[in-house]
């Protein structure tokens, strides 16, 4: 039966993560944006929240709560509310761990999951995106060619978070061209495997603290153990759906941060003798932000709810992600507008949020719930 309220447990999780985002992440966000790096103590602190370990089953040393995409979306929104770059950095190990957990063979789970129960942050990542304007996960240029019982990877990837520090990468490649989601496989690739070359750190408009690199794959030879899920492969459509829900939820978080900042500013800032918020032209912008944020969150939750029911949510997550890509950008842009010239100056965070929301819109598949 219809219910728009989070469970007691989810509310507690939300409160905890929100407080953390407000008190620990947000204060570090600007410095991280300027320096292009995240303080490792902060990453360790986020790790201590157990956002990755909690999904690892007890038999692999984790604490194994049942994973929920709705809960994941709630957590992602709060982290995004703190800072999206730091959030994606802190959650990057999930890009490797969750697909293994969800779709790996027993042997793969046994081999890889334990490391994520460590006390300290374990950098790990996935390589999905490719440097093309029309990058399309259903039509990857990176190819996996069968070679005996193993295979050989060739192609180039970009936007691989933490590629320089991750021990292993989950590399997505097309085993069968033209087969859409079904033709895609994921491979467990050690970073030091022959033929893997990590490029320079990428420089982007936003999400600056997030270390991402291009990765070139030249005749990377892998044995049969490397294919995630073994002969059965993976359900790539589901992984993409989870990724899109996560990215959308992060976007809702940034939008909320921008909205609250602009709202509070507009009540303080005076022009023509009155607070600017008392002018309809400003007040209606703020009202539009509030409506779009709620609409966005509901779309995200609905897609997540479908995932939790084990249903196909490809369409819902795709529409939600695209909706948030546009709405969060508009909210952040309007936040800059509400602050006027002051919004353009890097003393206020709104210009950073504008750059960061554009980043989430450009990305696909680099977060997960």
């Amino acid at each position: 039966m219809i219910d728009f309220e989070l469970s007691e447990e989810q509310r507690m999780i939300r409160e905890t993560v929100e407080a953390f985002a407000r008190d620990e992440i947000r204060p570090a966000a600007r410095a991280a944006d300027e320096s292009g790096s995240v303080p490792s103590e902060l990453i360790e602190k986020i790790w201590q929240l157990g956002l990755v370990t909690s999904a690892i089953p007890e038999k692999f040393g984790g604490s194994a709560d049942a994973r929920s995409a709705v809960t994941g979306a709630v957590v992602a929104e709060e982290l995004g509310y703190g800072d999206a770059s730091i959030a994606v950095h802190a959650l990057a190990p999930r890009l490797f761990a969750y697909p293994v957990l969800e779709m790996g063979t027993d042997a793969q789970r046994e081999r890889y999951l334990r490391r994520f129960t460590s006390e300290r942050f374990v950098p790990a990542t996935a390589a999905l995106m490719e440097p093309r304007f029309d990058f399309d996960p259903t039509d990857l240029s990176t190819r996996a060619r069968r070679d005996g019982s193993g295979c050989v990877l060739n192609g180039s990837k970009c936007f691989v978070p933490l590629a320089q520090s991750a021990e292993s990468l989950l590399v997505y490649a097309a085993s069968e061209a033209g087969a859409g989601f079904k033709g895609v496989d994921a491979f467990l690739v050690p970073r030091d495997a022959a033929g893997v070359s990590i490029g320079e750190r990428e420089k982007n408009m936003g999400l600056k603290p997030l270390a991402t690199c291009a990765v070139a794959l030249t005749d990377v030879r892998l044995d049969s153990e490397a294919r995630l899920g073994g002969e059965g492969g993976i359900d790539f459509s589901r992984l993409m759906s989870e990724a899109r829900v996560a990215l959308a939820a992060l976007g809702v978080g940034i939008a909320r941060a921008a909205f609250e900042y602009a709202r509070d500013y507009a009540k303080e800032r005076r022009a023509f003798g009155v607070p600017i918020a008392t002018k309809q032209a400003v007040a209606f912008i703020l009202a539009d932000m509030a409506i779009e944020i709620d609409a966005s969150r509901l779309l995200v939750w609905e897609a997540a709810w479908r995932l939790d029911r084990g249903e196909d949510a490809l369409k819902e997550s795709y529409l939600a992600k695209n909706y948030v890509a546009a709405s969060a950008l508009r909210v952040a842009d309007n936040a800059v507008q509400v602050l006027g010239g002051h919004g353009y100056i890097r003393e206020h965070p709104v210009e950073m949020w504008l750059r960061n929301t554009r980043g989430l819109a450009a990305l696909d598949g680099i977060a997960t719930v």
Partner: protein, 409 residues
């Protein structure tokens, strides 16, 4: 816990209402758009008998009927919005013309005493078809509903009403063509401002109440929109809803309470019309062998795919906001902010969706051979009545900023 699934009782009824929309409304939709001011008697009779049997006519006083209530859906406001969507998918004008207590009933429910609810609403449980209507808007004031100039003056055991009301939905049916009533908002004390504005039930054919005009409109033509003149119209004293005392917290606040319940319904009306247009476009694309490719790079979508997806997701966003606003009422939460969010979003989104549908279909969209052009005309009203786009934005803005009407107006 988050759940987007409707209750089984509601889902069952949705199917039934869809059949009504498809088999009883769509076939006469064009006809009663063109034959403005004529009524589809057969349809109205059928809907009336169906509602008398149904346990799910929320405004018609069935609340006092405990037994019936238990067998129906638990989330009744939500039930109302989803069934409203279904019927407006059929035809929004015909939906508005269905005999029931309407906005008049909503006002009685919001402002009346238990005795008044029973007295005024029991007529909707049987007998001949009847309509209820509500008249706030005047020639000189619409959005600024607190500026009503119609007066109610006490005269012994009676009130005497004087003034002009316009744009009253089903006003003619309620005032002259059935044994219904009109709830008229009038001031008992101009110096008291808002606090002096009170709702009065004026029975059909009360001397002194005259329907002077029925408007010609852009859309929802099957619904009559009446102008009413009150010229020394005498009504019994106990026809004032709630207390006659002029208190700041009474009276006008009830107008607002009415809107908290009815705005999600108007949002749902919009969504029904929007879905009609979306479904039409979807069928059309199928016929043309155009598939909409969800999940691929947005840079590889055609303009048609993009437009279609945008329509689809906007409609869904509006629906989720609307369901939330209705659900809040059902679980006893104040929904003033959320009701206006839903109404503002749905009104605008569906206006744009239906205009886009006409555009996407080229000459076929503009042609009266299909209903798409009609849906574009029908949709527009949802961004106007029950608070215009701007008025709902104003309410949202006040709520998020913690301002009253003094600071932001």
């Amino acid at each position: 816990m988050i759940d987007f699934e409707l209750e089984p009782q509601t889902l069952e009824r949705v199917k039934l209402y869809h059949m009504v929309a498809e088999q009883m409304m769509r076939p006469i939709s064009r006809e009663y758009d063109e034959r403005e001011h004529e009524k589809p008697q057969q349809f109205l009779e059928a809907m009336w008998s169906a509602s008398a049997l149904s346990d799910a006519v929320p405004e018609s006083g069935s609340k006092s009927d405990g037994e019936k209530k238990n067998s129906g859906p638990r989330l009744r406001n939500l039930y109302t919005v989803v069934t409203t969507e279904e019927l407006c998918w059929g035809d929004a004008g015909l939906f508005l013309s269905i005999p029931n207590s309407g906005l008049g009933g909503a006002a009685v429910m919001a402002a009346g005493t238990p005795e008044q609810k029973e007295r005024f609403l029991k007529r909707f449980r049987g007998g001949k078809p009847k309509w209820g209507a509500m008249a706030i808007t005047e020639p000189g004031c619409g959005s600024d509903s607190a500026a009503v100039t119609t007066t109610a003056t006490r005269d012994g055991d009676h009130w005497v009403l004087n003034g002009t009301k316009i744009f009253c939905t089903s006003g003619q049916m309620a005032a002259e063509k059935s044994e219904g009533f009109v709830v008229v908002w009038a001031t008992v004390d101009k110096s008291a401002g808002r606090a002096g504005i009170k709702p009065f039930v004026v029975e059909h054919n009360t001397p002194g109440m005259t329907v002077v005009r029925v408007e010609n409109k852009l859309g929802i033509r099957a619904s009559d929109t009446a102008a009413l003149v009150f010229d020394n119209c005498r009504i019994p004293f106990d026809h004032i809803l709630g207390s006659p005392e002029v208190r700041p917290e009474g009276g006008f606040k009830n107008v607002m309470a009415t809107f908290d319940a009815t705005r999600p319904i108007v949002a749902a009306m919009a969504i029904g019309v929007g879905r009609a247009a979306l479904d039409f476009v979807a069928d059309f694309l199928k016929q043309q062998n155009i598939t909409v490719r969800y999940g691929i790079s947005p840079r590889r979508l055609t303009a048609i795919e993009r437009d279609f997806m945008e329509m689809e997701v906007q409609l869904k966003a509006a629906r989720l906001l609307t369901w939330r606003a209705a659900w809040m009422l059902d679980v006893g939460k104040r929904n003033n902010l959320e009701a206006s969010m839903a109404k503002a979003k749905a009104g605008l989104a569906v206006t744009q969706i239906t205009q886009k549908a006409v555009e996407m279909l080229g000459p076929l969209g503009y042609s009266r051979q299909y209903l798409v052009e009609k849906w574009m005309r029908d949709a527009k009203i949802n961004d106007i009545f029950e608070g215009t786009q701007q008025i709902n934005m104003l309410i949202v803005a006040r709520r998020i900023l913690g301002y009253g009407s003094k600071e932001l107006n």
